[in-house]
């Protein structure tokens, strides 16, 4: 069965997102050894990103040159994806369940009268040789397995749940998806001995309608999280609740997150109290996160918050109240004052990281 699976890769701040490499791995699973994994990436100097997608296991990468820093536009993303879809007629399209992926993938699904399974965390082989897609429902309070009854398949995958394929040298990407500067030369060396240039194919302007008639226009992008790690993709999340007591109370958490190259999150209580922006909220309303390490500070652990974080690999809870429900899901608990414990933790992590 020679199927083509199309991966739509994505950049963030000019760097290839880790989830796009994870998507190549997921696409390889769906394509099988005989199938073809084609990827698409648009951006400034797309060839560098294309090489990494090839190293991750893509057989071919289609590229589009974009001006550096050009804002995301749902209509343009859809046009490019649709043009490629029409040309390649893939059996499946795989992309990240990111702000952009969430935004335009359902349009492609509607346009092609396709099913879409969103926010997939695992792919399982079924008895009939096809695939089932595991995804959280009720923000992770339960899970469902879904299958497709007809092609094409549209699949968006949750960041951090699929391995980055070996060939992509996972070490090239650090926690926030930016290339690790120290290894840049290694990556280039790998590309030299790697696949031929014909595996990289610019789509040209012929395949994609021009931008002049885009109906929606992005006037401005206000970077509120500039330089910080994206919450959904972060490997480490430091999260604060009502116990943080004020906006200033988040400072020690931010300092800890910075040392760990992690992201800051919050409970609904902290957001409702105005201590922080709703963009940080983790829970059934808000974001669902699955980091390697989740440090809950001053969070009691309401069921709607637990839904958003209890799939984290390791959970640490710091709370004054020994009866707080958060301790029931925590691997390590500290009963104590977060304002005392968190700065000490920051110091200990600094020491530990310096020793390495």
């Amino acid at each position: 069965m020679n199927r083509t699976i199309l991966v739509i890769a994505e950049l963030r701040d000019g760097a290839l997102r880790r989830v796009s490499l994870e998507a190549v791995g997921a696409a390889r699973t769906l394509a099988g050894a005989d199938g073809t994994v084609a990827a698409f990436v648009a951006g400034a100097n797309p060839d560098a990103h294309a090489h990494r997608l090839l190293a991750a296991g893509a057989d071919r990468v289609h590229t589009a040159e974009r001006r550096s820093g050009e804002p995301y536009n749902a209509e343009r993303a859809l046009r490019e994806a649709t043009a490629l879809y029409e040309r390649l007629r893939p059996a499946a399209v795989v992309l990240g369940h990111t702000a952009a992926g969430k935004d335009w993938a359902p349009r492609l699904a509607a346009l092609t009268d396709a099913g879409q399974v969103s926010d997939v965390i695992a792919i399982e082989k079924t008895e009939d040789g096809s695939f089932a897609f595991v995804r959280p429902i009720y923000a992770g309070k339960a899970f469902e397995k879904r299958v497709f009854d007809r092609e094409p398949w549209i699949v968006t995958i949750r960041p951090n749940n699929f391995p980055v394929p070996d060939g992509a040298a996972a070490s090239e990407v650090d926690a926030d998806g930016r290339p690790d500067g120290k290894r840049e030369t290694g990556a280039a060396g790998q590309a030299e001995g790697g696949p031929s240039e014909s595996a990289i194919q610019p789509i040209g302007t012929g395949g994609v309608p021009d931008d002049a008639d885009l109906r929606t226009v992005v006037r401005e992008v206000v970077k509120r999280t500039s330089g910080e790690v994206d919450l959904a993709e972060a490997r480490i999340v430091v999260s604060g609740g009502r116990g943080v007591k004020s906006a200033e109370g988040f400072r020690p958490l931010e300092e800890l997150a910075a040392v760990l190259n992690g992201a800051v999150g919050a409970s609904r209580g902290a957001c409702d109290a105005g201590y922080c922006d709703y963009a940080l909220q983790i829970g059934q309303t808000g974001k669902v996160v699955t980091p390697e390490l989740y440090i809950a500070c001053g969070i009691s652990g309401a069921i709607q918050h637990l839904a958003g974080m209890s799939q984290s690999r390791v959970i640490v809870a710091i709370n004054k109240d020994p009866d707080a429900p958060i301790f029931k899901v925590a691997d390590y608990g500290i009963v104590g004052d977060l304002f005392e414990v968190v700065p000490l933790l920051t110091e200990q992590f600094k020491l530990a990281l310096n020793r390495q």
Binding site: A99, P106, E144, V314
Partner: protein, 257 residues
């Protein structure tokens, strides 16, 4: 200005999930308007209060969903529509086709929905509807300004923490993100009035859709609960000892860092 709000009835977010005979057990569960759709209802009512017009709340659901529609009417929506699903397990493709067919028969300026539902959480239906009707859409909106005379809207979109300011011609579709507004509680007079407001019922056949057209391309084959998490251990000692021990345990036991 005519605003149509797409909404869904969901479990209250405080509800625990139980599974009975392979499916989610709905027995004794408290249902609410999906919180993200509630922001959409509130925004629609505010826009009508500013610019005049009419707000219609529509859902695809069983009779149980009437309660959610009545709540939207009690908040201030003018009329409601309940569309019966073709099957209990109709997926996003089928549901969006029903909503699009309903909207095709009406005049409207704005379609508002939630960014995603807190139950299935696919985040597909409103955006699929926009595509089926060839409407521009802006997802995850935290601010929405409508210029009725110019027939345009400016929205602030939450893109993973960054704000994108997006301009779009009307009619258009927007999905509501948390932070868009603070939904009002229905008042007692509002609840009384809601009982008399029009609530229309439709079937797929009424909307001119055949069973074949509404066949769901995806199907749920299993629903299960995650393994319960075991409570770990409490780290004792004074704050300095706790911090030292935690970092050691994370490195040596959990193999982190």
């Amino acid at each position: 200005m005519h605003i149509v709000v797409l909404l869904k009835q969901t479990f209250d977010t405080e509800e625990k999930i139980r599974i009975r005979e392979g499916a989610i057990d709905e027995d004794g569960v408290k249902f609410i308007i999906n919180p993200y759709d509630e922001y959409a209802v509130e925004e629609a009512i505010r826009l009508r209060e500013l610019h005049g017009g009419q707000v219609t709340a529509v859902t695809v659901g069983t009779e149980r969903s009437v309660e959610a529609l009545r709540t939207a009417l009690a908040m201030g929506a003018d009329e409601a529509a309940l569309i019966a699903p073709p099957a209990e397990d109709a997926d996003e493709a089928a549901v969006s086709k029903l909503l699009a067919a309903y909207l095709r028969s009406r005049a409207f300026d704005l379609v508002l929905g939630g960014h995603f539902s807190v139950d299935r959480g696919s985040g597909q239906v409103a955006i699929r509807v926009a595509q089926l009707l060839d409407l521009p859409h802006t997802g995850a909106v935290t601010k929405l300004d409508v210029d009725v005379a110019a027939g345009r809207a400016t929205a602030t979109r939450d893109a993973e923490g960054d704000d994108e300011i997006v301009e779009t011609p009307l009619p258009a579709c927007f999905t509501a993100q948390q932070g868009l507004n603070e939904p009002r509680y229905p008042t007692l007079p509002g609840i009384m009035k809601a009982k008399k407001k029009p609530l229309a019922r439709y079937t797929a056949e009424d909307l001119g859709l055949s069973e074949a057209e509404l066949a769901s391309p995806t199907r749920v084959v299993e629903t299960f609960l995650p393994p319960p998490r075991q409570a770990g251990r409490l780290i004792r000692g004074d704050a300095a000892e706790q911090a030292r021990e935690l970092v050691r345990a994370l490195r040596e036991e959990a193999k982190l860092l």
